[in-house]
Symmetry: C2
Amino acid sequence: MPSSQAFHFHTESLSVGSARAGRFHTAHGTVLTPAFMPVGTQGTVKGLTPLQLSEIQPQVILGNTYHLGLRPGDELVARLGGLHAFMGWKGPILTDSGGFQVFSLSGLRKITEEGVTFQSHIDGSTHFLSPERSMEIQRNLGSDIVMALDECPPGRLERSKLELSMARTTRWLERCRAFPLNEHQGLFAINQGGTHLDLRQRHLAEILDLDGRHPFQGFAVGGLSVGEPKEAMNATLAELVRELPADRPRYLMGVGTPEDLLFGIEQGVDLFDCVLPTREARHGRLLTSRGRLNIKNARHRESSAPVDPDCACYTCRTFTRAYLHHLFKAGELLAFTLNSLHNLSYTVGLTRAARQALLEDRFAAFARDTRAHWTTEEP
Amino acid sequence: MPSSQAFHFHTESLSVGSARAGRFHTAHGTVLTPAFMPVGTQGTVKGLTPLQLSEIQPQVILGNTYHLGLRPGDELVARLGGLHAFMGWKGPILTDSGGFQVFSLSGLRKITEEGVTFQSHIDGSTHFLSPERSMEIQRNLGSDIVMALDECPPGRLERSKLELSMARTTRWLERCRAFPLNEHQGLFAINQGGTHLDLRQRHLAEILDLDGRHPFQGFAVGGLSVGEPKEAMNATLAELVRELPADRPRYLMGVGTPEDLLFGIEQGVDLFDCVLPTREARHGRLLTSRGRLNIKNARHRESSAPVDPDCACYTCRTFTRAYLHHLFKAGELLAFTLNSLHNLSYTVGLTRAARQALLEDRFAAFARDTRAHWTTEEP
């Protein structure tokens, strides 16, 4: 158990509506929020060294329990000193529960009350993930923030089945809470319930009932970024977030477009993660303060401009669009690295700028100006 | 034309035999030799940013005239400020002539006295490379060291045909010399002649005849790394190098195994280049002070040791073999970056250490110890 103060959310600024800037502490450092967390699925944020990553100043990075449990194996990582030492990252790390990948990536599976039997996407071997096993893997990895194992129902499950799934997620949460984590680790509970606000509220009530007996260190909203219609998602999110306890971090899982980040921050979300910035980067699609651009487009072939004139990342400080266009066309590895560096700098920078605006009491103007800058034409 | 002193080779130390430490000056900095030059074919040393590359402290890096002339095009690079600005590299750059790639990579071609007609390996389009066009591309790229265009005969051409090829290379050299390069650029002549020492000597005499009228800034030995038997190559090299002028840099093209570098340095070679360190890195084969290791091997799966305990590169300072094994197995981009960073650090470091040993008059012991350290068993 972390000390009760470790994950206490200190609200530093509250803005019009629900947006908030804050901070909480972990054994690997203080986390300043709002914060976008880059995803390092297999023990690396794809294409970036920890040194390059640290220039972006992410407050937290993610590791994936499903991937790392299968390869190289969580026990090996533990023997090598934990995930921080293994991948050379000194800052806070959050690990997911492995649930989402088991339900989306792995092969044939059987779900029982005890847990999930699945086949590895690597070699087809059979594995078992339960609440206890998920906690064990995350304890071995030694992450700062541990996510409870939830059942991840498909986007539009019928209501009655969704209710059964949520009830099981609550029982699994209780088992996760009972598992002895390392002292420095904090456990976050995950709220499910699709786009049904009433189901989400009922699930939250169950979570808060458990929380009253044995506090969680944070609360996450899951399943709101997997194929739901955007408006339904936003409406549910807006209502739900204000009912999450204000004294601990709130994490919206799998969300990472600039538009969604800004909306989430406005609702009072503190933490976000998404593979979008790095995945888009590998396809040559770059996020900028003026909107999205595709570096493959011929119009960038001779451009001596940086990707984003408002960006101070290494890529934008050093290279022209023409060079990045060339690297991508030539299939050079460096294209992926430089594009990822920029997209993560932009995304992490957007949450950092939002925080600064909140602290300076000019968040509404910041959000308005940021949106006004984005154009649908390629910048 | 560079000022006559720019490329003058200052011998700083001469060792037992012919090995030498020295320096010469270019517009982008002083070059300390012996030096291994990393290859940046398409305007990037594969997988490394200029910042990562600068940590390795290469004295010179290479760019490829064939590749860059086709894509993005040398005129575009010129408009964007030259290759240094384009790729963000502030140190000296050497460009090859494009000849080797035209003769090895490109499609159907016709060779005439005027030049070579070839098909692009990218899109099959038809292009023409002549001495003048090679010089023009290299002038547009703005490299510090320009290589003369030579015909690159296949490994075991019959003697009479080889003589015809060499005669043409001499005529092409004269045309290269007549071309007006930028003031800061130095032109290196290339000696050919297979493993026939007498042909190489005859060709060298022709080069030196031209040199007497219009000096070259350096001399290269070509065609000694393309499939020749090692012993024949070494014998020819040993004889030939001592006949190259001592007052200008000597460059052995396409050579880059640790063993060959050490042998070359012993003969009095100053500059080397090879794709081997980066290509091997991308296949998980790592060069170390104890010999070669294959990071894919299961024996490294749980190793908490660095790749090379004697190496101070970022990879060896930061990561275990177990982590690099994991990255490679998982197909992560970062594997290529970290492996390349190490292999280039090792190779550039080997030439730097040789230089230091030469300056401290302990080169023979250095060479002996270095060889004694290499084992054939995987370290």
